[in-house]
């Protein structure tokens, strides 16, 4: 194996595939990145067997071959190289020679043939989705994915495509985030993708200059393609919760509220509960005023916001973190909050349209 590339291209590719490399693995070879030259293409690949990333590296090829190099070492090394052409040549005993201006390294590698193959995802149907839409769908839902593994299926997000509508759904038992958008392909899909895959995808998509992401899937693998970068991930098995069933269709109180005002009030109210596990804040919607209260040994806080209330007054309590998480990522100026009782979920919707739906379950409390 022998090829010439530039420091920038090499750094970019290493950064992408490194996202799939896990630092805690039982298979030492997985701590490395595979460099492979085949069919006139230079590939880089990393995997932890749950997620695998393969990308192409532009460069001038002199000969074929493959080697696995420690991901940690190569990424630090490349980062510190001078800005110039980089010459890579594989010598005997898997020693990779790297030259750049006046620097020369000889790195001990491992046999490239021992590196696991990326699972093939052959599907005749490929879905294309706008990259910016894809990114915001991840960003606006991913915080609701379950953090613990009590219910394994909830550690991923449901991606559902139906009638030209794509939906991302995340829920952890206490809250739900649903974001939807339009796509052109007429295709059906309903799969649960691990949270880690999506967060790495978000980062890789942010690095990419392309406009769209292609998605295809087989029985238990899903492939995301951004130009020459392939991200293959295992899908989570099991039945996702029927989310439609838990979104209330009716409400007895509708409140229109300014997002920025509500967010800063919630943030101030949560100052008093920082130590507590349930971060309890109490909301009282009455006479077009929202009163937010919180108290602890540290002190008390009382906030008031002008809102538009339609329907009955209601007193309800929440974990402030759940509210703040949602309000932070909403770009609209105003939103609608819908309630039925003090023990049923609060529904957060856009004032216009139906791009997103958030559900937050209240904290049950005894009012003294």
């Amino acid at each position: 194996m022998n090829f010439i590339t530039t420091k920038d291209d090499l750094l970019h590719s290493v950064n992408i595939v490194q996202k799939a490399v896990s630092n805690k693995t039982t298979l030492p070879i997985l701590e490395g990145i595979l460099f492979k030259v085949m069919d006139n293409t230079i590939y880089l690949m990393g995997t932890d067997l749950e997620i695998g990333i393969k990308t192409e590296l532009p460069g001038k090829i002199n000969s074929q071959g493959s080697v696995v190099i420690s991901a940690k070492l190569i990424s630090e090394l490349v980062r510190k190289l001078p800005d110039d052409d980089v010459f890579l040549e594989l010598n005997e005993n898997y020693i990779l020679n790297i030259k750049c201006l006046n620097s020369e390294f000889n790195i001990q590698g491992q046999n490239g043939n021992e590196f696991p193959q990326l699972p093939e995802v052959h599907s005749d149907k490929e879905i294309s989705i706008n990259k910016e839409l894809f990114k915001s769908m991840i960003k606006e839902t991913i915080f609701s994915v379950a953090k613990n593994e009590n219910i394994p299926i909830l550690t991923g997000e449901l991606i559902e495509i139906n009638d030209g509508i794509i939906k991302f759904v995340a829920l952890d038992g206490y809250r739900l985030a649903l974001r939807q958008g339009k796509i052109n392909d007429n295709i059906e899909l309903s799969e649960v993708v691990p949270e880690r895959t999506l967060s790495e995808l978000y980062r890789i998509a942010s690095l990419s200059t392309l406009d769209s992401v292609q998605i295809s899937h087989t029985k238990n693998q899903i492939l995301f393609r951004l130009g020459q970068t392939h991200i293959v991930s295992r899908l989570l098995e099991g039945e996702f919760m029927n989310y439609n069933q838990i979104i209330p269709q009716n409400s007895t109180t509708k409140v229109k509220v300014n997002v920025a005002e509500l967010l800063s009030s919630c943030e101030r109210a949560s100052l008093m509960v920082r130590d507590g596990k349930s971060n309890l804040i109490k909301m009282n919607f009455i006479n077009n005023i929202l009163e937010i209260k919180s108290n602890s040994e540290m002190g008390t806080v009382n906030e008031q916001i002008d809102v538009e209330i339609e329907g009955e007054s209601i007193k309800i309590a929440f974990n402030s973190t759940y509210f703040i998480d949602v309000l932070k990522i909403i770009s609209d100026e105003e939103i609608l909050l819908e309630f039925t009782t003090s023990v049923s979920p609060c529904v957060i919707k856009p004032n216009q349209g139906s791009n997103y739906t958030y559900l937050i379950l209240p904290v049950r409390y005894i009012d003294h």
Binding site: N150, Y365, I366
Partner: protein, 416 residues
């Protein structure tokens, strides 16, 4: 700042004197306290050990913690009575309620020990020593057992004071008395100096509490790490911990039972688990707490012990919900072999005042809550088995199993 005044109330040979009192009140003419007697783990079990002893039993050099077998060899006439944790809990509760009359801050440190923060109460009730005598007399007269009370400026010294001379004594241990009363005591009398620390201290020539107090704090820290510094502080009578109102030493509630015969039928095992869950949940509700962690334990006929636990989405106190998880846990680990012993335990307790609801909460939760509440009050009034689950009819199994186990209360904790 005003100097704190802390009482430490310690029941004298608690289990034994509670047992004795109860027997006297129920017509027995024999006072266990006057004969060689012990409260010991189930005498039928081979693993029975001594939990408490009378003073006459002490004369035979019978020690707490030794096996019944070895105690019987020392004193063949020894009277052994089985423990009754529910009775002890009751006694402990009534003592607690008496103490609550004297301060808003009472910490139940273990089943037979309480700390009372008397600092604020002095304006109301006056001289601490007089009040201590008052409390001691009331407990003797109203409840029929004796206590030791230690009075000091912090919890550590109060506890050391109540240990000074027993039974039925009141001691003070204020800073000017430390040297006279505490320093001359052997080092193993100091709180937190156990059998593992003792030889290490003896090695460097520390034999009394005073020796340790006079040693160099930094040296103790490098020798025994943070524990060395802690006991050095204790030897000097230094302790700043507060009297905590809630008894946080209780980390969980659990009950377990050894069956009369080995059970290998799933349905029967489920019923036993249900009877344990009934007890655990009743106790949980009685404590006004909710649990987030549920675990079960199994000991099979080969004495192999294993357990399994899960965290649930929303904390609960519902018998139905907890039993549902218990059943699932059991099915997940049971290897179909005959079972000798089963246990149910809940942990990660939290208050009932507010809790996060979840999408996975059962729809019937409110009804469950009402049923549990009603059943609890019927049982409280008319006895435990006044209302039982239909599943136990003609099953030959007890519908509610387990007492108030001692295991939940740390008898000695590093948390003052």
């Amino acid at each position: 700042m005003k100097k704190r005044i802390i009482f430490h109330i310690d029941v004298n040979s608690a289990y034994l004197s509670w047992e004795a009192t109860w027997r006297l009140q129920h017509g027995s003419s024999l006072d266990l306290r006057n004969i060689p007697s012990v409260v010991g783990g189930d005498p039928k079990s081979r693993h029975g050990i001594i939990l408490a002893k009378s003073i006459p039993a002490k004369k035979y050099e019978i020690k707490t913690g030794e096996t019944l077998y070895s105690a019987r060899q020392k004193c063949p006439d020894l009277l052994i009575v089985p423990p009754n944790y529910e009775l002890y809990m009751k006694c402990s509760n009534v003592m607690y309620s008496i103490l609550k009359e004297y301060s808003h801050l009472v910490q139940r440190y273990s089943i037979d020990e309480c700390f009372v923060d008397y600092t604020q109460s002095e304006d109301l009730f006056g001289d601490p020593l007089k009040v201590a005598y008052n409390i001691s007399n009331r407990i003797k007269k109203e409840l029929g057992f004796t206590v030791n009370i230690g009075i000091a400026n912090n919890k550590l010294l109060a506890k050391m004071a109540s240990e000074l001379e027993k039974p039925d004594k009141i001691h003070t241990l204020f800073p000017n008395e430390i040297e006279d009363k505490m320093w001359k005591l052997p080092i193993d009398e100091l709180f937190m100096v156990g059998r593992r620390t003792l030889p290490k201290l003896k090695n460097i020539g520390i034999n009394t509490i005073g020796d340790l107090a006079k040693a160099d704090g930094f040296h103790m820290k490098s020798y025994l790490k943070s524990h060395g510094f802690l006991i050095w502080n204790y030897a000097n009578g230094l302790d700043e911990t507060l009297v905590r109102e809630e008894d946080i030493v209780q980390k969980g509630i659990g009950n377990s039972t050894t069956m009369h015969y080995d059970v290998s039928d799933r349905r029967e095992a489920n019923l036993v688990l249900l009877s344990l869950a009934e007890m655990v949940c009743m106790r949980l509700r009685n404590k006004n707490a909710l649990a987030k962690l549920i675990s079960i334990s199994i000991k099979n006929s080969d004495f192999l012990h294993y357990s399994h636990q899960c965290k649930i989405q929303s904390p609960t106190d519902s018998t139905n919900v907890i039993y549902k998880h218990v059943k699932k846990l059991f099915d997940e680990v049971w290897k179909l072999e005959p079972i000798r012993h089963l246990g149910v335990r809940v942990g990660e307790l939290c208050g009932k005042e507010f809790y996060q609801t979840s999408f996975f909460d059962e729809d019937l939760l409110d009804q469950y809550r009402k049923i549990d509440k009603t059943v609890d009050s019927i049982r409280k009034r008319y006895g435990r088995e006044s209302i039982i689950r239909g599943a136990f009819l003609n099953s030959g199994l007890k519908p509610i199993v387990g007492g108030v186990g001692e295991e939940e209360y740390q008898m000695m904790s590093s948390l003052l």
